[in-house]
Subunit: 361 residues, 5 copies
Amino acid sequence: MLLFDNNMPHTPLKRQEDIGLSPYELKFRGRHRSEDVQMTVFEIGAEDVQEATIHSAEEILSYKDSDKLIWLNIDGLHNEALMRELAENLHIPTEILSDVMEPATRPQMEEFDNGLFVSLKIMQFNEKLHQVSIDNLSIVMMNNLLITFLEEECNQFNPVKERLKKHTRRFRALGTDYLAFALLDVVIDNYIFILDMLGEKIETLETKMVLSHDRRILESINLLKHEISDLGRYIKPAREMIMSLVKLDSDFITSKNNKHYKELQDNINLAVELLDYYHELLYNELNIYHSSMSTRLNDIMALLTVFSVIFIPLTFIVGVYGMNFDNMPELHLRHGYFIVWGVMLLIAAGMLWYFKKKKWF
Amino acid sequence: MLLFDNNMPHTPLKRQEDIGLSPYELKFRGRHRSEDVQMTVFEIGAEDVQEATIHSAEEILSYKDSDKLIWLNIDGLHNEALMRELAENLHIPTEILSDVMEPATRPQMEEFDNGLFVSLKIMQFNEKLHQVSIDNLSIVMMNNLLITFLEEECNQFNPVKERLKKHTRRFRALGTDYLAFALLDVVIDNYIFILDMLGEKIETLETKMVLSHDRRILESINLLKHEISDLGRYIKPAREMIMSLVKLDSDFITSKNNKHYKELQDNINLAVELLDYYHELLYNELNIYHSSMSTRLNDIMALLTVFSVIFIPLTFIVGVYGMNFDNMPELHLRHGYFIVWGVMLLIAAGMLWYFKKKKWF
Amino acid sequence: MLLFDNNMPHTPLKRQEDIGLSPYELKFRGRHRSEDVQMTVFEIGAEDVQEATIHSAEEILSYKDSDKLIWLNIDGLHNEALMRELAENLHIPTEILSDVMEPATRPQMEEFDNGLFVSLKIMQFNEKLHQVSIDNLSIVMMNNLLITFLEEECNQFNPVKERLKKHTRRFRALGTDYLAFALLDVVIDNYIFILDMLGEKIETLETKMVLSHDRRILESINLLKHEISDLGRYIKPAREMIMSLVKLDSDFITSKNNKHYKELQDNINLAVELLDYYHELLYNELNIYHSSMSTRLNDIMALLTVFSVIFIPLTFIVGVYGMNFDNMPELHLRHGYFIVWGVMLLIAAGMLWYFKKKKWF
Amino acid sequence: MLLFDNNMPHTPLKRQEDIGLSPYELKFRGRHRSEDVQMTVFEIGAEDVQEATIHSAEEILSYKDSDKLIWLNIDGLHNEALMRELAENLHIPTEILSDVMEPATRPQMEEFDNGLFVSLKIMQFNEKLHQVSIDNLSIVMMNNLLITFLEEECNQFNPVKERLKKHTRRFRALGTDYLAFALLDVVIDNYIFILDMLGEKIETLETKMVLSHDRRILESINLLKHEISDLGRYIKPAREMIMSLVKLDSDFITSKNNKHYKELQDNINLAVELLDYYHELLYNELNIYHSSMSTRLNDIMALLTVFSVIFIPLTFIVGVYGMNFDNMPELHLRHGYFIVWGVMLLIAAGMLWYFKKKKWF
Amino acid sequence: MLLFDNNMPHTPLKRQEDIGLSPYELKFRGRHRSEDVQMTVFEIGAEDVQEATIHSAEEILSYKDSDKLIWLNIDGLHNEALMRELAENLHIPTEILSDVMEPATRPQMEEFDNGLFVSLKIMQFNEKLHQVSIDNLSIVMMNNLLITFLEEECNQFNPVKERLKKHTRRFRALGTDYLAFALLDVVIDNYIFILDMLGEKIETLETKMVLSHDRRILESINLLKHEISDLGRYIKPAREMIMSLVKLDSDFITSKNNKHYKELQDNINLAVELLDYYHELLYNELNIYHSSMSTRLNDIMALLTVFSVIFIPLTFIVGVYGMNFDNMPELHLRHGYFIVWGVMLLIAAGMLWYFKKKKWF
């Protein structure tokens, strides 16, 4: 299935050694990765966008006081030294970066002195593996600087990068909050896209289910329910976060972008409604499966009972005349055998008539 | 059934190529249609109403500064050039028209500088096909201009058009918000009408169900539950939208029409209550079906058990005297055969008495 | 049962021809009735009450500027001409009277320029038919005039009429809002009375259910659940209405009667709590019924299995010695027959011991 | 069980003759009782407490203007004359006393001109009868006077009476609201005590249930669920009442006692949480019982099927060679009998191997 | 399992002798313990931390007016004399200390004149016993003094003690509220850690369950559901408490620590979401177990029915020709025996074809 791999071991949210860490400590709490951290900078001017790859925190500093709009994307969270430099040079509070380095963090939003921090889950459908990978997206919005953090590189933002080139002037004019909206919009659209894929499976299952009594249907329902629960864990807190973002009266979300954030809220609400809708369909399917099993059991037992109830007395009768008593007068009747057949046919016909009347078949 | 066609493929809400679209981009996201867009204008003066069909966006402009009340109805959303002209000439924000062109949009309400945008699902019962078609209704209310957008033509608004001719003066006096109310009122009355039709099916099913054990009842419950869930997806967000419309303190809903919007709220609440009521009835029916299956299984098994338990020992006894041992004294008793019959009748009578006492039948 | 008649056809809430009616149109939407509309007037002075039957709307006008408290009760809603005269002469808004003439209307409350409109369902237990009839009660409260509308005459208000005669002075002093409270109080007390009757049936069912496996119990649970759902549809919106009545800051509910309206709220809350309580009891009963069916099935199958498992091998053994092979040494043993009996008794005893140990009976 | 007596008739909340009673009418609506009303007065001075039994309403008057704190406890509500005197002499509104005399009243709180009225259910565990009796406690708090009403005498308040003697000065200083708190605290502690007793039964049941398939377990679950529902009906509205008491900004609850009322709220919340917890445990137990029944049915049927499937073909084979055809060559084979035994053993072994492989036992 | 010991007796929340205790009475209501109360003091200066063990209340007094930050940890609550001295010397209200001595108290928060009182459950996983022990943590925050109370010593706070030594200056600067946050943070992280352990068991169970029909799976689900319910009883009120702590506008939580308390809220929300998620998974598992039992029963009964229905008529036929009538013409046919075999094979083949067509196996 998409999300839930039956054979994957349980990944704990909290390791014992991370309990009691200071909120000011920059320690990466995810799975350590050996690759280098990838940093890309987009410098958005009034006329054009320049993309560059950078390798050290110092290079970022040069962009700091630019009059352009700067989008810095960082893939990889395990470089603790880099984080410390970001904290010091860009004045991002250490508590914020500490949360960035905790992949188990809940979707959240926090305003700080010179910026706004937003974090939620990003879901990326990998067509080759036919599987969804889940990552944490952290966004730090400051005056003319937007930083995005991801554990792994992801190509979900390509459409935004293209729009950036086409509508450079609009992005420059609307600022970091519009850029952040564009990214969040893509993330939520992907939620809906993935829910759609699950929905297709659920509806296919429903049409399959009506007459079949395949045990694999039960397994599919089980897996799909697990996946819907998993998605709910990521999407529902994201809605909460988006809603407090819309209600927030912050300098970092300008009034001209307010309507876009309201649209985000509509989209995430749509996602949650889809989630609830599919949850209900699956619950319904399980009920129907169960009832249909019990209908089938009725049919099976009715068949067995009809057969047994008809033949049990007949078998008893033929048993009687198979006994070896010396003195059994019926055995010596001339038409004894045929009379017994007659009686047995009468009994069978009576039984059949009875079951027919009771609508057993 | 009405809404849910078992063989219809799943229609996704979000296509991969539409993810990341700019909110300022006017792209039609529904199923493309080759027919021309149909535009009808109603010019509502103090004395009479004039209906006209128009073909280009320029023609609309001539109505723009009319002192009459103008209702422009547009059937067909795929003409992107037209939309662009509407945006430019009537100063409707592109984000709004972008939402109009997205058929998967959630029922919503948004106020903009010179107007109010409202969108919800419209349900139309087609008597010939005995099926309900679902479309998106977008309403843009401006000072003296009301624009309605639909993907396909629909005759649901005919009663409003007739009232327009009969009570022209009232409509002229009460303005675009009263006209919008009249349209929304018809939409919600149709919700209730369709729920009523479902309700009739549900109640018919209930009376059928009591003694039957037909597998088709299970299928019907399943389909009806699916339809109730589908309706809920459209009606519940519409209620949310109507409620924020009532609470809204906007210049585009005048205080003299406020009471009408409160009535809309009462009607949509009635629709949601009906929805919940039918949901509960169906849940109840499924429970009863299930319990009645299990009662029937009890009856079947009781019958089988009574028969088996009575005849199994008897068949054993006749088997005993069918054995061919040389030395079986009973076989040579004069009344052996009759004694065995006597014993067997005693056993059967004892069993029957026992089952009678235990109230098995 | 009380409310739900299994053979009654489904009555739709909304007829197709009523969709799109103007809110200003006075059209009766219920079942048309040929009898005359009955109008009764109570003129409540400081000292005594005068009751009169009137026949035309003009007669009402004479009471309009009386310094007494006037209660006008109208049974029958289908006289559209009368309604129009009420609207014109008493300045009741047409939208209000339009709602009065719609029996499917939701319990609601609306304040208008010179009065307050309240509507809810009235339930009347008919002791002869042992059935509950449901009607719509509309109350219009104006300065010194209270109008009540009912589709059919009902004797529920008799105790209020008696109190009116006994405590004339108090009613005169406390005004129309106290009179309205007295009527609403009776309506809600009847809700509780009817819920009580249902409750008695539910608790009787529970004591019956414990050991019985009667299919009629399932039917009774089903009907009672349906009735509880039906009552919920009427009582829950009534609670909502009463609550907004208590919160309302209106000139038509004076502060000296506020405490009475709070008591109404307590009573309707009690009704809703009873409703939820009985709902839970019934849900519980259905669960218990179901579990008890499955316990009984266990018992039935255990009996069948014990019998079968004991006798099946024995019957096989006697079958073996009923075979007609020429060469079967055991048959010629002197005590062969008795040995076989011994073996069979041993097997049976072993089986019985095994089932006893496993606590099968 | 504790609360719910299976053989007790249903006691209606509302009798037909009480519908439409005036809220100003002092009529006792409970079960009439012949014993005298018991009145006890505690006069709490700065130094000591004096307890006295009084017999008439006039005697109360003498305490009215005392500078001491007066607690008047009245056991028995059916003396309508006494109530009228209380209303007149102590200026307690008749509507309040009318509620005191209605045992079916919902837990409520009402402020009046010169005092505060509080009412809730009191539950008293009777150790001899091993049963809980339920009564209505009404408390009227006035400046220096606190009146408590009960239908029957109860010894629940003894610890408060003792504390009254030990800490007289504190009670005198903290006033009627502290005394009321002390009484309410005892009432809610008794709720928790009774819930604890139920909880013990529920947890005992759970450990019993695991391997048993006793039908009495089902009955116990049923009774306990009924009791939990009953307790919920009394405790949940009491919580609502306590919460509005804490939020109330009244002169009759002084700020120095506010913290005590917050503690009451904590306690009643604890009671409701316990209620929900036990409700969940019971629901869980019913589910487990049901699933365990179905597991047992599986086991029973597997045993029957294994036995039947093995012996049915064998019994058929021995039947074949019991036929009496003239020409049956196998019968005359020298080792025919032994060959048949061999074949039958092979079949049986094959079947056993198959069931073993399928893990049927 | 972790929390719930099947053989542990039910521990009541409220003992009869504790009902009616004065809120000002310092009486220990837990299980009495003979060991001495352990008191440790941490004196946090600008430069270093000094740890000391103290033995009497007087020693505490010497720290009272220190300009350092003092953390006093008290393990053991049964020393009533000590509590009285704390109340008198440190001016902690007796009601607060009375709550500290009540282990059944609900997680709560209360502000008093010179401090803030916070109480919640602490859960400690004991690796040796593989069991979780639960204790009550009470925190009293005053100006420069923080007191923590526990019934039993616990090593959960060791990481905080280490951080105290490493970041002494930060702790000194951020004050008692930061120290309290650090402790609460560890407590909530342990909630998540324990939920993680349960989650691992739940997910392991799910993969095991798919094909097995082991009765022990049912028992495991049962135990895990009980544990989830138990955790909910402790964690959900803790969330409520944390949320009112964040909303509280108190002098004892300085604005610079506000963000930390918001993080606490995020963490406890994560815990509650996990709880709900696991609750849903378990509910799902129970449903799947149940449906899978019913699928298996279908399979068992289908096998029995196929076998029975095929062999029952055949056994009847061989019985017929085992009868001993004198006149049975078929017996003397030359190929009678072989014809019967042919007929029986035809019947069996027909049956098999029928079952194959119906997809019974």
